[in-house]
């Protein structure tokens, strides 16, 4: 009894410690966003200070937050929908009509995630330039879709694989074609998984900085570019940068907070059955 109690205590403390370590940079960023530029770079850092909204005022005055945010929403949601549209049929065929090469294809798809993006920056940049996709929402959406596709296919594949074959066969006996099978049976049955996959894809796209910084300038720039624009080689900018970052992550943080139950349920969807 005593042993389990102390074990529980240790585990609780450990959980809090890890949570705080993970959260600390975000906490520090939010704190900094309410400081003046001087306080922001002070050493030792001041924990107690007069909070000010000066940073936020300046950020709002210098850039059109709404436009960047809107771009982020369009690109992350658009790329996610596009990825699902491509990944559902792909995962369906891999899960239900596997060939000897399915396993290899899946691994190959995942292996593309191991390539540093900068390795393909040149070709992609040139292709985008020739196609006129630089600094366009369409271009960024396509890149994000490609970026997340391996993960989306992989996740959907594991969810689909867990669907009992009998149910789909019963559907076929009942007269469902492939499309109806997917729409009426497979998707409703794996909805928690599809939802969490979509959420993950939105979050990854939202936070993506490399491609957005390299492929956009102004028209299609999302919030990551908005943050970067407040970093400058001279002068004090930490408070403004923190304010911009806080504003940039706020929507996705709130979305994540609201959907955390869904996320956990979806990510453990196959495991607990």
């Amino acid at each position: 009894m005593n042993q389990t109690l102390s074990k529980k205590l240790v585990l609780t403390l450990l959980a809090w410690f890890i949570a705080l370590v993970v959260f600390f940079p975000i906490f520090w960023m939010i704190l900094t966003s309410f400081k003046t530029e001087g306080e922001a770079v002070a050493t030792p850092p001041s924990l107690f200070f007069d909070p000010t909204l000066a940073g936020y005022h300046e950020v709002m005055a210098r850039a059109d937050y709404v436009k960047f945010a809107l771009n982020s929403v369009i690109v992350s949601v658009g790329s996610t929908l596009l990825a699902l549209l491509v990944a559902v049929p792909a995962a369906y065929s891999m899960a239900f009509l596997p060939t000897p090469r399915t396993r290899g294809t899946l691994l190959w798809m995942l292996s593309t995630k191991m390539l540093p993006p900068v390795g393909v920056l040149m070709p992609i940049y040139l292709i985008f330039r020739d196609l006129g996709l630089l600094d366009s929402l369409t271009g960024l959406t396509i890149v994000y879709m490609l970026m997340n596709l391996p993960i989306v296919v992989w996740m959907l594949y594991t969810f689909f694989k867990d669907v009992p074959r009998d149910i789909l066969e019963a559907g076929r006996m009942d007269g469902a074609g492939t499309l109806q099978e997917v729409l009426y049976l497979l998707m409703p049955l794996t909805l928690p998984g599809i939802a969490s996959t979509g959420l993950l894809s939105v979050i990854l796209s939202w936070n993506e900085a490399f491609w957005s910084l390299n492929l956009t300038t102004s028209d299609a720039a999302p919030l990551t570019a908005f943050i970067a624009s407040f970093s400058s080689p001279e002068g004090l900018f930490w408070a403004k940068l923190s304010a911009a970052s806080t504003m940039a992550i706020a929507p996705i943080l709130i979305l994540g907070w609201m959907t955390q139950k869904q996320m956990v349920r979806g990510l453990t969807f196959g495991a607990v059955k």
Binding site: I167, A170, R172, M173, G175, Y184, P188
Partner: protein, 381 residues
């Protein structure tokens, strides 16, 4: 309502042949059971009929029409799965009406057909529930209801009762038999349980290793098993077997020496046997009788009293035998007993496992379950 015909059906998975050329005829409104040990190919055969697997070669015909290339839904058959395979996200009503919805049947008509099936299966008050809120037996009935709603020409059942507990299985067995009577439909039923096969079938198809061992009415399989496998598979408890030596044989009977030295003349066609040959004698536990003058003897190892009958497990010279005795026998473990049997009840199997033909056919072999069916079917197989 329909007939089914299988002509030389073969199924190969890679290099392995799992169905090795099966011919079968199923008559209109017949209840046919495929039975066999697991891995015998019975489910694969059913899935080929359903259209969920393709046959590597051979013809599948419904009402004389080849349907090998027809999709599962267009074959007009309905299947009940072992796992029920209900759609978990739909209510009972939607589950049962799904095929009609896909076929574009208007809502009102759909509802009416679902209600009709629900009435037959006593599911009326469960129509709004989801499958997870149902008991095993109720789920099974919904799965059957889903099949009924489609008004199929042939019902296919893939071990539908094996997920139910024993009591419910017996109840559902009776319900299925009644349903067959009420719907008057052709049904094909797969099971590994020989009791289900015996109790429900008009015709049993015994499969092993992808080939048909025997096709016949339950009584035919019981009284005239074609070979030793069928003899051992049909009937519970299992038939007792012992090797015996032929003393004398001709077309009117075979005399054999029993373990312990006794003799017995079995009324089977022994035209191909010679004195000195070794045959296998098979005798069912329920055909052995305790008899102080009997030619066989043994020691009781275990007694199982079931009330109406008592199973005696005997240690005999021919190995361990089972004897089904009267419920009121007073014997106890370790008692020595003598027993015998009516020679007409015994079976003899040659070395290749084939049974020697009985001289007399059992009178119930050709009797059909239902009187009116005699008009639509010829003699048995």
């Amino acid at each position: 309502m329909a007939t089914l015909e299988l002509n030389n059906i073969v199924k190969e998975f890679g290099d392995t042949q799992v169905i090795k050329g099966i011919d079968l005829e199923v008559k209109d409104r017949e209840f046919v059971v495929f039975v066999g040990p697991s891995g015998c190919g019975k489910s694969t055969l059913l899935r080929m009929i359903a259209g969920l697997e393709s046959a590597s070669s051979g013809d599948i015909k419904v009402d004389g029409q080849r349907i090998n290339e027809v999709g599962p839904a267009e074959r007009g058959l309905a299947m009940v799965f072992q796992s029920y395979a209900l759609y978990p996200h739909m209510t009972v009503e939607d589950n049962m009406g799904f095929s009609l919805r896909l076929a574009g049947v208007p809502r009102a008509e759909r509802r009416q057909k679902v209600l009709e099936a629900a009435r037959i299966l006593q599911l009326e008050n469960l129509l709004d529930r989801k499958p997870k809120a149902l008991s095993g037996g109720q789920r099974q009935r919904v799965a059957i209801g889903r099949a009924i709603v489609r008004n199929p020409s042939i019902f296919l059942f893939d071990e539908p009762l094996s997920n139910l507990d024993a009591a419910l299985r017996v109840q559902m067995r009776i319900e299925l038999a009644r349903l067959h009577d009420e719907l008057d439909a052709t049904m094909i039923y797969v099971t590994h349980d020989q009791i289900e096969a015996m109790t429900m079938a008009d015709k049993i198809v015994v499969l092993q290793g992808g080939v048909v061992e025997q096709v016949g009415s339950p009584m035919e399989l019981y009284h005239h098993p074609r070979n030793r496998f069928v003899a051992g598979f049909i009937g519970s408890p299992k038939m007792n077997f012992v090797d015996v030596e032929v003393l004398d044989a001709n077309a009117e009977g075979v005399s054999v020496r029993l373990p312990g030295g006794g003799e017995c003349r079995v009324p089977v066609d022994g035209g191909d046997c010679r004195p000195g040959d070794t045959l296998t004698l098979g005798i069912r536990p329920e055909h052995l009788t305790l008899d102080d003058q009997g030619p066989l003897s043994g020691k009781i190892v275990v007694i199982e009293r079931l009330g109406g009958v008592t199973s005696l497990y005997l240690d005999t010279e021919g190995g361990e035998w089972i004897l089904m005795a009267d419920g009121d026998v007073s014997h106890r473990v370790h008692d020595a007993v003598r027993f015998g049997f009516e020679p007409g009840r015994a079976h003899l199997f040659a070395e290749d496992g084939l049974a020697l033909a009985s001289l007399e056919r059992h009178p119930l072999v050709n009797v059909e379950r239902k009187e009116n069916r005699a008009s639509t079917s010829g003699d048995d197989h």
